[in-house]
Symmetry: C2
Subunit: 368 residues, 2 copies
């Protein structure tokens, strides 16, 4: 590294900051249900798979955990606490009277993330030394072999960028009239899939450098059931709905038509098979478990206002990045979205035949 330089990669958008009524911190109930649903699995897997007798593992009494894509809380604190309790239990049962273990926890997200809110809402008493790490996880963020457990929830289905072909009117993969990879166009799906493969590969390569041999990685990521298209799921319908709102807004002159045409969501929901193949061909990690999580919220009919505020806390940033920080325009977009959502409430919830899946994946870093 002496002559190399590290670039602080970093998307220019993030979840809505602060801890006010429109913040992600106050509008991440779905993500919290996910963390709840995963709690038992994480605990059990750590107890079973973490091995303190592994010589690669136990070189010091510092145990380092990183959350990749932590956002501004509070879910990250819940998950970290859960991980630490399991690690501590395993450590004290596997070893005989070991010296006390010290935990260092790194909260990572893009530079645009609201770290001030994250730090201000850190639990006043915690069993770890906390640090924030700014930068994109699609690049190196830590020195070699310094992490023991990596965690990433609801983050890796966000691509590092929108594949350029899908917004290029001269490409066969031009995604005209749509803002997402609905799955109905093979060319569009191919472009999104290639970007996803490239991103996950980059992520795994970076983490393989940073995680000790025998170290674990928990990934929670949105995906699709086998053979189901994005457009056939509830999530896909809501994204398409946002797309139709943007087209309406262009007609009303709130945003420009060109801006709408060049907008696509940097999101990709893959199948279990596709994801497994990427991880296997990458080769740095063994898949110890791949499972489904079933948060209860998906099966509930949601209150419109609640659903819209949850959606906005996640999607406002990506819209701002593309359409600019014009708060007037954003307000109009989301007001229209809320109205259309309310007007079509019945058909939306009765039209859903499929749900996307949230995958729970446990990886173990191969001993180098």
């Amino acid at each position: 590294m002496a002559n190399e330089e590290i670039k602080t990669l970093g998307g220019s958008w993030a979840m809505v900051g602060g801890d006010g009524p429109s913040s992600y911190a106050q509008n991440s109930n779905y993500q919290r249900e996910m963390a709840d649903a995963a709690k038992g699995m994480i605990h059990g897997e750590i107890i079973e798979k973490l091995d303190f007798n592994d010589p690669h593992f136990n070189s010091s009494n510092t145990f380092r955990i990183a959350d990749f894509g932590c956002s501004a809380g509070p879910n990250t604190f819940f998950s970290v606490k859960n991980i630490i309790e399991a690690v501590d239990h395993k450590y004290n049962t596997q070893l005989h009277n070991p010296p006390p273990l010290e935990f260092q926890v790194f909260f990572n997200d893009v530079v645009a993330n609201d770290f001030n809110t994250l730090f201000n809402t850190l639990p006043s008493f915690q069993k770890y030394f906390a640090a924030g790490v700014p930068g994109s996880f699609y690049g190196r963020l830590f020195p070699k072999s310094t992490l023991h457990i990596a965690y990433s929830s609801q983050a890796l289905h966000w691509l590092s960028k929108v594949p350029k072909e899908v917004v290029d009117s001269k490409s066969p993969a031009w995604n005209k009239g749509s803002i997402l990879c609905s799955g109905t166009s093979k060319e569009v799906a191919k472009a999104y899939s290639a970007q996803f493969k490239n991103d996950i590969d980059t992520f795994l390569n970076a983490r393989a450098q940073e995680i000790v041999g025998g170290g674990l990685m928990v990934i929670i990521i949105a995906g699709l059931p086998d053979g189901i298209l994005m457009s056939e799921t509830g999530a896909g319908m809501i994204y398409e709905f946002l797309g139709s709102c943007l087209i309406d807004m262009a007609k009303l002159g709130v945003v420009s038509k060109e801006k709408v045409d060049s907008f696509n969501l940097p999101l990709y929901y893959s199948s279990a098979k596709e994801l497994e193949e990427i991880i296997r061909s990458n080769g740095h990690f063994c898949i110890e478990r791949m499972d489904k999580l079933n948060p209860r919220m998906l099966v509930k009919k949601l209150n419109v206002e609640f659903a819209v505020s949850q959606f906005r806390a996640v999607f406002q940033g990506v819209l701002e990045e593309h359409f600019g920080r014009d708060q007037d325009a954003l307000e109009k977009i989301f007001q229209h979205f809320a109205k259309k959502f309310a007007d079509n409430y019945y058909s939306i919830f009765n039209g859903i035949r499929h749900q996307h899946i949230d995958f729970f994946i446990l990886l173990k870093h191969n001993i180098n």
Copy 2:
């Protein structure tokens, strides 16, 4: 640690955030001159005193540096770059074809510090992995034996709190009519001195846990020449000047008289002898060097507006904490301060017979 809990200590005030015209980031020229003046000393001392053949030292290829009290930049980036260049040079000359060294840099300040601005202004390309660590340095912030070089500039003359006796009207150490330890009252000086000793001791004990044996610590701290009182220095005069402004403001009803009476600056400038004694009696570190820094700004007559904005960037936070975040009142206080400063410009700069000293101290952690 398994059953212990770490408290995120943290003052509720910090330097003025953001990177706008009134921010600390834009008003820290004095501190930058200090870093400039220290640059050569730091480089030379690291080359001479850092020993990669020390067995305590070289257990991995990760080299960890922490800046305690980094504020929101940009001086911290300058100092860190300077340290890394020296370490890298020593590493590559002392060892024969060593594996590349990876640097991890921790930027520490209180929770109220503007870490968002710090992260947003990180150099885009740097030779280190960056992390922010929120919390007071008068407590543990890192796992045991994980830091190689600690750095703290212009931070340790800020006490963890105002000694309670000095604002207690029933105490012989009551500092009536003054907001600082001017040195003229022995009882007040004793209370401040005891708090300072306690804080430095706490700081050194925490760092002794965190820094590897043979690790270095650079401290830049404001102090006094032997036998000179705070009230006899330019800095002391300016602080007393702020105190007289607060009394004027109380008379005008902008702030309450009780609030002014109960306000003291949590600042203490010690003599070299006093500081040396604290470090020696603590015993965890050897004093490798103790020297004076002489930034050029102290001998220049400053433009009033410039001087006031530099002063405000540092002191606004501590006033807000005590008097509340009433922007109207703060504006009036600093306008009055600026006016009084301009009116008394000649007498201020000609009345100064002494200057405070900025000490440069290099410590080496004793091998345990």
